[in-house]
């Protein structure tokens, strides 16, 4: 055993910055908590964390290097490097640096607003709020004071009549000339733009913009550049040698004439056919579309404003980075929005989106539950993928454009599925086998029900004449039409393809995988869990209304049975037995068993204590008390605010204020004393609330009545420490449709400590947990030992207990809470192999406690093997979201959108392992001091530099780093080919 947190799946929480290296083909994302994540080809990812945990403001890759610089909101700069270590690359922080002004200068003097890593790779230019541009040497971060470009120096070289001191305040943008590394374009916030010659320290050109500047972009050949402005306009400027103060070529307000929002970033991309791509963020008409998060792409007569579901953090364009290429030829646009990553294919007509292989938005709709299934049979896997591919036809077929680095991790040992249930009634199927959590298929249960939302309400359909030409992109949609649709429990049988899904309004759906579209009627049954109880009133939500008549379902999992619990309380437990064709479900009122073959309710059992009014009335009464406590805490906040205002705005009389303060302090102190945090110490009793809440359901073929005959059985555990066992009679397969399934209560065990029962398990004669249904039939498990006597393991939140069967006598127990004060939150049987020998494996219990610790407890002797702190105990949602896999791995949510993957087993470890080789900086790349070589290189390779050739070039460089022999081989083959 060893606990190892291996990788974070999903979309980073609160992203704040984006960077891209066209050289490494790597993308970097920074977050508000100071994390930095690098992504390349699928499986290539790195993560780093700034010690300061400050927001990452900007990320810049150093040209032609495996290095990047981050700027945090505390104005510190950090240099990170990818270095190879033990065969794999690692991301490490190398240096940190904070720009310091002369003593006594205001903090704005050194507040960095723009960063330009120079192509010489030797210096960084840092634009500041004061208008000064500082130069620091890399990698030492030594300030080269003699090279500072002060705003005074710039002003001196501009005719005074056009500018004043204030024109040079705040550097908004710094751009290096694409062809001449000795020239940089400096854009100041107030609209002044100057082209600065680094060699001679002089202004070669200056451009007077009338509007507040937002950003700048050079045309590829350096003859023009484009500026974008606060008023929603962009301007093209010529750079010619004769005119020192050029006039704008063109000034456009794309979404005018009414006032528009700022265009904050702009790209100008040239193409072979002559029509450039102008791509810019923002610029929407303020009044009617000011709330949209848009990026517009204009290419000739085509224009689309991509409308994102959340705020756009930043974006970049992937274009031909070969310096020798004549045109940019943009291929893809990568947009980081606050809640998702969207990539648009610019090469395919219609500009479709590309399906990202990673960074999936897990939280498109809030995750309400998760379920993991290990080792999926290939057949089922392929069918799910095929169902999913039919849903993804609107995606581009373009290969993933961010393809830097090489994944050298071994192939995942098996196919694993992670199923997440969402608030909007969908279940998403994720490929959780490897490092990239990839969406395979999305299932919606909404179709079965009648909801207020119109299913034909499609946001994408817009008339051709619409202006602006908005197009919704992205999948993030946190608004649920009806909270009752929320998925609470999922159970998938990987052998039969049966799926059971249960939700917030007591709905239980059984589904079957169908490879074709189909239209059919869903059989509908109601389970009255309060059968024998009279005179109770449910004050919670109503049950969902169902659709009459046949419903059309797309290929994939299609529901054929719907059971609705009455009262329609949240389904709290679910079990499916695909061999017996039975599904069991439980709520806070009781549990029931449904035969989905004959479509008949077998029985229901009410577990309610007659005095438990709270459970009867439903969630409303609890809401009331929550409201009350909220109101109280608000009142407290308000009171403290009022008093602080009083203090600040105190009248001249100081002593009076002091007196008032003292009085207030006394009052608050008294209030504190009146209501200290205290806990009631009381034994649990049968009359406690929610004792009937069904926590766990379990099917087992075991010896329930006598030791000579085993039979199918259903076990249920409640919040009040009761275990019910029902003996089932399932007719043999040939008479399965003719005879009814019968059930009879055989046992009822009351644990005297009355803690909630969270797990029930039967161990066979060899003390091995009983296999899953159909596992034996598929030859994937040894058949259980039916000779020796079986044992029953009951896990409550406080204790583990083993009883003998069929006569129940207590055999072993392990007390957890009484000795440690922690409680069991999650428990699963996991199989642990040895990393040394292949033929050894054992079953243990993996347990997560309310303190966030993970404990491994041996079976069948209940001996604590090891304990690891895993999740912070304050992280309640993290603990609640944890799922264990069958082979000792697990997932828990570290934010609404990210799963942390961990492994308890040394044998099964899924973690990123990848290499980023630094391509040799060839003479192709224009280097500061050798302009001659650049020309030579251009001559040798004519205009359209083939994609294949570029790849082989990379391959060659790749090899050069590793082995000269290989290099020679490749060279010879290449030469031979030519």
């Amino acid at each position: 055993f060893s606990l190892c947190q291996t990788v974070e799946h999903g979309f980073p929480h609160q992203p704040s910055a984006l960077g891209y290296s066209p050289f490494l083909h790597l993308m970097a994302i920074g977050t508000r908590s100071g994390a930095i994540k690098l992504y390349g080809a699928p499986g290539v990812e790195f993560m780093g964390l700034h010690e300061e945990n400050n927001t990452v403001m900007q990320i810049h890759f150093i040209p032609d290097q495996c290095q990047l610089v981050t700027l945090l909101d505390d104005n510190s700069l950090h240099l990170w490097s990818l270095k190879q270590h033990g065969g794999a690359s690692e991301l490490r922080e190398e240096h940190r640096f904070t720009l310091k002004g002369p003593p006594g200068s205001p903090p704005s003097a050194t507040q960095i607003t723009a960063v330009l890593p120079h192509s010489s790779r030797e210096v960084l230019y840092l634009g500041t709020e004061s208008g000064n541009i500082f130069v620091v040497e890399l990698p030492s971060f030594r300030v080269l004071e003699d090279r500072t470009i002060s705003s005074e120096a710039v002003l001196q070289r501009i005719p005074e009549d056009n500018c004043n001191r204030r024109s040079c305040e705040l550097v908004e943008a710094l751009r290096e000339h694409p062809k001449n590394p000795d020239q940089i374009l400096i854009g100041y916030s107030r609209g002044l733009i100057v082209l600065w010659d680094l060699q001679n320290n002089k202004v070669t050109h200056h451009f007077l913009g009338s509007q507040q500047l937002e950003n700048l972009y050079w045309q590829r050949d350096g003859s023009k550049f484009i500026s974008c402005h606060y008023d929603g306009s962009y301007t093209q400027w010529p750079v010619s040698s004769d005119n020192r103060q050029p006039e704008p070529l063109e000034n456009t307000v794309p979404y005018g004439p009414f006032p528009c929002k700022a265009i904050s970033k702009i790209y100008w991309q040239t193409t072979k056919n002559g029509l450039p791509y102008i791509i810019f963020q923002g610029g929407m008409p303020r009044a009617s579309y000011g709330d949209r998060h848009s990026i517009s792409v204009i290419h000739g007569s085509q224009q689309t404003a991509f409308d994102f579901t959340s705020r756009v953090i930043d974006f970049f364009i992937i274009f031909s980075s070969e310096p020798a290429a004549e045109f940019d030829d943009p291929s893809a646009m990568v947009v980081l929005a606050e809640e998702e990553l969207v990539v648009i294919d610019l090469k395919t007509a219609g500009w479709p989106a590309v399906h990202p292989p990673y960074l999936a938005s897990l939280h498109c709709s809030a995750i309400t539950c998760s379920h993991h299934v290990s080792n999926i049979p290939l057949k089922l896997w392929e069918r799910i993928i095929s169902a999913g591919s039919k849903q993804n036809v609107h995606y581009s077929s373009m290969p993933w454009p961010i393809d830097g680095g090489t994944n050298i991790a071994p192939d995942p040992p098996q196919r694993d599925l992670l199923l997440t249930g969402h608030e909007d009634g969908t279940v998403r199927f994720w490929d959780a086998s490897g490092v990239c959590l990839h969406l395979l298929y999305k299932l919606s249960t909404v179709r079965v029900f009648l909801t207020d939302a119109d299913p034909n309400d499609n946001m994408n359909t817009l008339g051709e004449d619409e202006w602006p030409p908005l197009r919704k992109v992205g999948t993030f949609d946190p608004y649920s039409d009806d909270p009752r649709l929320g998925i609470q429990k999922i159970y998938l049988c990987k052998y039969s393809g049966y799926l059971a899904v249960a939700g917030t309004a007591g709905q239980v759906l059984v589904m079957e995988l169908n490879d074709e579209d189909a239209e059919h009627v869903v059989d509908h049954a109601e389970a009255d869990l309060l059968q024998d109880q009279e005179g109770y009133r449910w004050k919670g939500h109503e049950k969902l209304k169902t659709r009459d008549g046949p419903v059309r379902f797309e290929a994939g999992f299609q529901p054929f049975v719907l059971v609705q619990c009455q009262p329609p309380a949240v389904v709290t437990s679910l079990a499916l037995h695909s061999e017996w064709k039975l599904v069991a479900f439980g709520t806070s009122h009781g549990f029931g068993l449904f035969d989905h073959q004959q479509k008949r309710l077998v029985f229901v059992k009410c577990t309610l204590h007659p005095s438990d009014q709270l459970a009867l009335e439903g969630p409303l009464s609890r809401v009331k008390s929550l409201k009350k406590s909220l109101r109280q805490s608000f009142r407290r906040i308000r009171r403290s605010r009022v008093s602080s205002r009083k203090r600040r705005g105190g009248s001249g009389n100081a002593s009076e204020v002091q007196e008032a303060n003292a009085k207030f302090d006394q009052d608050t102190l008294q209030e504190m004393e009146l209501a200290p945090v205290q806990r009631k110490i009381e034994a649990r009793s049968a009359e406690d609330s929610f004792t009937g809440f069904v926590r766990t359901l379990y099917f087992a073929d075991t010896f329930l009545r006598d030791s000579s005959r085993h039979c199918p059985s259903l076990w249920a555990g409640t919040n009040g420490g009761t275990v019910y066992a029902f003996c089932l009679r399932v007719p043999p397969a040939e008479r399965r449709m003719d005879e009814p399934v019968r059930a009879e209560q055989a046992k009822e065990i009351q644990l005297m400590h009355r803690a909630p029962v969270v797990g029930i398990l039967v161990l066979d004669g060899r003390s091995t947990p009983l296999p899953e249904p159909l596992e034996v039939a598929h030859d994937l498990s040894k058949s259980p030992d039916m000779q020796g006597s079986h044992q029953l393991l009951v896990v409550s939140e406080e204790q583990f207990k083993v009883f003998t069967l069929p006569k129940v006598s207590s055999k072993l127990k392990l007390k957890l809470t009484a000795l440690e004060g922690c409680r069991v939150r999650k428990v699963t049987v996991a199989n642990f192999g040895s990393c040394k020998t292949d033929d050894y494996s054992e079953n243990d219990l993996a347990v997560l406690t309310n303190l966030g610790d993970i404990q491994i407890i041996s079976l069948p002797f209940l001996k604590l093997q090891i304990r690891y702190p895993c999740i912070r105990k304050e992280d309640v949602s993290g603990i609640a979201s944890c799922v264990f896999t069958k082979y000792g791995q697990g997932f828990y949510l570290i934010s609404p959108s990210e799963f942390e993957r961990f492994s308890l087993s040394t044998k099964w470890l899924v973690e990123p392992r990848c290499v980023v080789d630094m391509p040799e900086v060839t003479t192709n790349n224009h280097v500061h001091s050798k302009p001659g070589v650049e020309n030579a290189a251009r001559k040798s390779s004519p205009g359209d530099y083939g994609e294949d050739e570029r790849k082989s070039g990379r391959l060659m460089e790749h090899a050069l780093l590793n082995d000269e022999k290989v290099l020679k081989e490749i060279q010879s083959t290449l030469e031979g080919g030519r």
């Binding site: 200290p676 945090v677 205290q678 806990r679 009631k680 110490i681 009381e682 034994a683 649990r684 009545r705 209560q745 055989a746 046992k747 009822e748 065990i749 009351q750 644990l751 005297m752 400590h753 803690a755 004669g765 003390s767 020796g788 006597s789 406080e798 204790q799 207990k801 009883f803 003998t804 129940v808 006598s809 207590s810 055999k811 072993l812 127990k813 392990l814 007390k815 957890l816 809470t817 009484a818 000795l819 440690e820 004060g821 922690c822 409680r823 303190l851 069948p860 002797f861 209940l862 001996k863 604590l864 105990k873």
Partner: protein, 347 residues
């Protein structure tokens, strides 16, 4: 000899009359007897005045089992808590004529005549400033009835005085068990729960521990009021003990000295209802008879030698704090005969 007769529940009359009735139905008019009955928990309790006589009649549902014993042969220890479950056989004890004779006891106020609701234990091993209180929560409706809170206390450490977080009793519920014992008071600092130190544990953790142990709760406190401490005779001066304790907080004794084996096991017995029959206590497994059980037993012993794992008889005496302890049964002939006694109805 057995007699069965009826009484009017609403008018039981006086003890004297009942005593006479018993002598009459047994035809022993001049023999002094001790009278006892079994209450709902299976305890043998005495009947010797009007009050406990009325209590006895009120608990009959509908049968009241009464035991009589010649005054001279009386075995006083037969009365009290757990007498029915712990003693091998009360009847044989009571009825056996050759029971070794004991000195005559005073009839009234024998400690055994009462069921304990609380006790101070381990006085001999605890520092005088501490008090270890055991609360006995029977199947009664009487709540434990207290609240705990966070607070801070001052400890003497090698670095001088230090303020450390602690857990304190914040409130006693009137009429609750805790209040009625008089052994716990508001602002007493809780040091241990069932032998486990609470230092370093959160309020919620300590709450969970106390509730998990609520059927047999042993709390070690440092009473806020130090004037009622038990003063030990054996010690010449109490001060030295106090100072050693307070100078090294880690030396707080955490062994539950008097936690008897039997007591630990009697804390809770789960209940089973088979085929909607009568609720019964779940017995301990008696494994030797079944082959597979004995196999696992062998494995178990094998493991115990490997991992320094102790069978339960040693475990309990070696009950160490802070680690998870496990209990399981090793075949024990003496106890087995008791377990086969039959069903004990507790609901």
């Amino acid at each position: 000899e057995f007699r069965r007769f009826s009484l009017e529940r609403s008018k039981p009359g006086k003890f004297e009359e009942f005593y006479g009735l018993l002598q009459h139905v047994h035809k022993i008019p001049n023999v002094d007897v001790l009278v006892g009955y079994t209450d709902i928990h299976g305890d043998l309790l005495p009947i010797n005045n009007d009050d406990n006589y009325h209590k006895a009649v009120s608990t009959a549902n509908p049968l009241l089992r009464i035991f009589m014993e010649s005054f001279e042969d009386a075995d006083y220890s037969a009365f009290g808590t757990d007498t029915m479950t712990r003693k091998k056989n009360v009847l044989s004890n009571v009825l056996r004529p050759d029971n070794h004779k004991k000195k005559p006891h005073i009839v009234i106020s024998m400690p055994q005549d009462f069921r304990p609701v609380s006790s101070i234990i381990d006085v001999d091993i605890l520092p005088e400033t501490h008090r270890r209180v055991r609360l006995y929560k029977y199947g009664t409706d009487k709540p434990l009835g207290f609240y705990i809170r966070d607070g801070s206390s001052v400890r003497v450490t090698p670095h001088g005085l230090e303020k450390v977080p602690g857990i304190f009793i914040s409130r006693l519920v009137p009429g609750g068990l805790a209040q009625s014992t008089g052994l716990l008071a508001v602002n007493d600092e809780v040091l241990e729960v069932n032998g486990i130190e609470v230092s370093g544990k959160s309020l919620d953790q300590v709450t969970d521990m106390m509730i998990a142990n609520s059927r047999n709760l042993i709390i070690t406190v440092r009473p806020a009021n130090q004037r009622n401490n038990v003063v030990r005779n054996s010690r010449t001066s109490g001060s030295s003990g106090q100072s050693t304790e307070s100078s090294l907080p880690s030396s707080t004794p955490n062994i539950l000295g008097n936690l008897l084996q039997g007591e630990e096991e009697s804390d809770e017995e789960d209940i089973i209802i088979e085929d909607s029959g009568e609720p019964q206590q779940i017995p301990k497994a008696a494994p030797t008879s079944e082959s597979i059980e004995s196999l696992s037993q062998i494995e178990l012993l094998h493991e115990s030698t490997q991992n320094g794992f102790l069978p339960s008889s040693e475990m309990n005496s070696n009950h160490s704090a802070g680690s998870i302890s496990m209990e399981y049964d090793v075949p024990d002939a003496g106890r087995k005969s008791l377990e086969e006694d039959g069903t004990i109805i507790t609901l």
